[in-house]
């Protein structure tokens, strides 16, 4: 290995600070919006139309708490790794290691699920055009590799791409809503099931629906991963995150309204692509094309954002020696965590090619849920260790500790909902994290340089 260019390059390499609030919005909403295009509708299947709407808004409340909490903490802990960096500074190394793993698992599995979905969509189109038995594998692999390459080449291009396709996918939902409202649909909206069959499976149906209600917003917390690459973290992160959750609440409500009005709930509850199916019900070919493109764009944006976020979390853990230091490298030209991006490609491919979609999605949701649970006591500890007025915050969320408490209660309800449908996976996931924690505590932590993990110029916490 030579040092030929070391003298010409800057003394220290870091990630490039080029992003603005719009990129933060595109990262958060881009990861999530696919949940409007598919997945959320299983909540309707679990409990009917009313349960679907309740799940939509209860999950919206849960994620509004997540966004508020994240905005405050991340505007202070402006480092790649997002919640991992927060956990390291506020709770401690073992919690940070676990949160880092939650993030990497949640995003890598979501990326795999998105790639599977793109393969499925292309198979559907091929089937509609008369070609049966399309081999989906090359398209799944191409999706993951092409997006990994885009991320490898630079964060600005990658998130600008996300901004364009996410905005298009969001606009497609608005256009569908307006078109249906102004009579472009051959089938009128029908909400008679709301009064005829309000809760076909009773109140338990609402609890069961909660699991899939998360789909509307799962991943908005991913905005934090951009913390080290935004020009002004204290301003851009809260702005991008809060704008993101507002966008998603609007998109989720419109999606429920249009789909529930056009598709009978028994069919909606098991539809593969509900927004596209709603467009097909309208009989308007323009809307069908628009919503198909929207579905593909939303899925691509989600996979792209997931690669960005998983690699930042993995990179941060490598940089702190929680994982081999090799992963903490920055590309000298593109200024991206290139080794982490490349390393996670085969992991995503293994999940995309070797695991069933519903299992991949469930493990992703469970990892996310564990992360949200962490946020509740992380927030309480943050305010206790650094009360208002002792550290510079870009955003202060109101009514503390109410959002943290609401989040905790909603997380508990969702664990119960997940346990009802996927109890085995929940226990398997917990066992995995317990074994990983034991490995970290008894083996890996000896390689961590204690002082090097805390390089932020923070004031000493209260009581220390």
């Amino acid at each position: 290995m030579s040092n030929v260019s070391a003298t010409a390059a800057p003394e220290r390499l870091g990630l490039l600070r080029v992003l603005g609030p719009a990129h933060v919005w595109a990262l958060g909403v881009g990861i999530v919006l696919v949940g409007e295009y598919m997945g959320w509708n299983f909540s309707v299947g679990k409990g009917g139309m009313i349960a679907g709407l309740v799940a939509c808004w209860v999950a919206g409340l849960l994620y509004t708490c997540v966004a508020m909490i994240d905005s405050e903490v991340t505007s202070t802990v402006a480092a790649a790794g997002g919640q991992y960096a927060q956990a390291k500074h506020i709770v401690g190394p073992l919690m940070a290691f676990n949160v880092g793993l939650f993030l990497v698992m949640a995003y890598t599995m979501l990326e795999a699920a998105n790639a599977i979905t793109i393969g499925f969509l292309l198979d559907t189109v091929a089937g509609m055009l008369g070609h049966s038995g399309l081999n989906q594998k090359p398209f799944i692999i191409l999706t993951i590799l092409a997006l990994a390459w885009l991320n490898y080449r630079g964060v600005l291009a990658s998130l600008s791409f996300n901004l364009v396709i996410t905005a298009f996918a969001f606009a497609a939902i608005i256009v569908l809503f307006l078109s249906v409202q102004f009579g472009a649909s051959a089938v009128p909206l029908d909400f008679s099931a709301v009064t005829n069959e309000p809760l076909p499976y009773g109140w338990l149906g609402i609890v069961a629906a909660l699991h899939f209600g998360l789909w509307y917003y799962l991943g908005i917390e991913g905005t934090c991963q951009a913390a080290e690459e935004v020009r002004s973290p204290a301003r851009s992160l809260p702005f991008g995150t809060m704008a993101g959750i507002m966008t998603l609440v609007i998109a989720a409500t419109l999606t429920w309204y249009v789909c529930s009005g056009l598709i009978p709930w028994e069919y909606l509850g098991s539809a593969g692509t509900p927004l596209f199916d709603a467009a097909r019900v309208t009989g308007n070919s323009g809307l069908m094309v628009l919503l198909f493109i929207g579905t593909v764009f939303a899925t691509t944006a989600s996979a792209n954002g997931c690669i960005n976020d998983a690699s930042r979390a993995w990179f941060s853990m490598g940089r702190d020696h929680y994982l081999p230091e090799w992963f903490g490298a920055v590309h000298p030209r593109f200024r991206t965590p290139y080794r982490s991006i490349v390393f996670l490609v085969p992991i995503a491919l293994i999940f995309a090619l070797g695991a069933p979609l519903d299992q991949v999605i469930t493990f992703s949701i469970l990892s996310g849920l564990l992360g949200y649970t962490f946020m509740t006591f992380n927030m309480v500890m943050f305010r206790k260790k650094w009360p208002l007025g002792t550290i510079k915050r870009g955003y202060v969320h109101p009514w503390h500790p109410l959002p943290a408490l609401i989040l905790l209660v909603l997380c508990a309800a969702t664990y119960f909902a997940v346990f009802l449908g996927y109890g085995t996976q929940l226990i398997a996931m917990l066992c995995f994290y317990i074994i990983a924690s034991l490995w970290f505590h008894f083996w890996r932590y000896r390689f961590v340089k204690r002082g090097d993990q805390f390089t932020m110029p923070w004031p000493r916490p209260q009581g220390y």
Partner: protein
């Protein structure tokens, strides 16, 4: 053989090309630059230069 079969081959080929480019670039960078420089990134550099976490009235 129809257009979809050709698209499948094209997807395989493109995947192979992208993977090769990415791996070759990674090897090139790893063999050209010193690992110490590549792993020199540190958390909180912006705070050190621009946004110190201090409040005028407190500190």
């Amino acid at each position: 053989m129809d257009i979809w079969n050709y698209l499948e081959y094209a997807a395989w080929a493109l995947s192979a090309v992208i993977a090769a480019i990415m791996i070759m670039d990674m090897i090139k960078i790893d063999t050209t630059y010193d690992n110490e420089l590549l792993t020199s990134s540190r958390e909180g550099e912006l705070e050190l230069t621009q946004e110190r976490h201090e409040l005028d009235d407190v500190l």
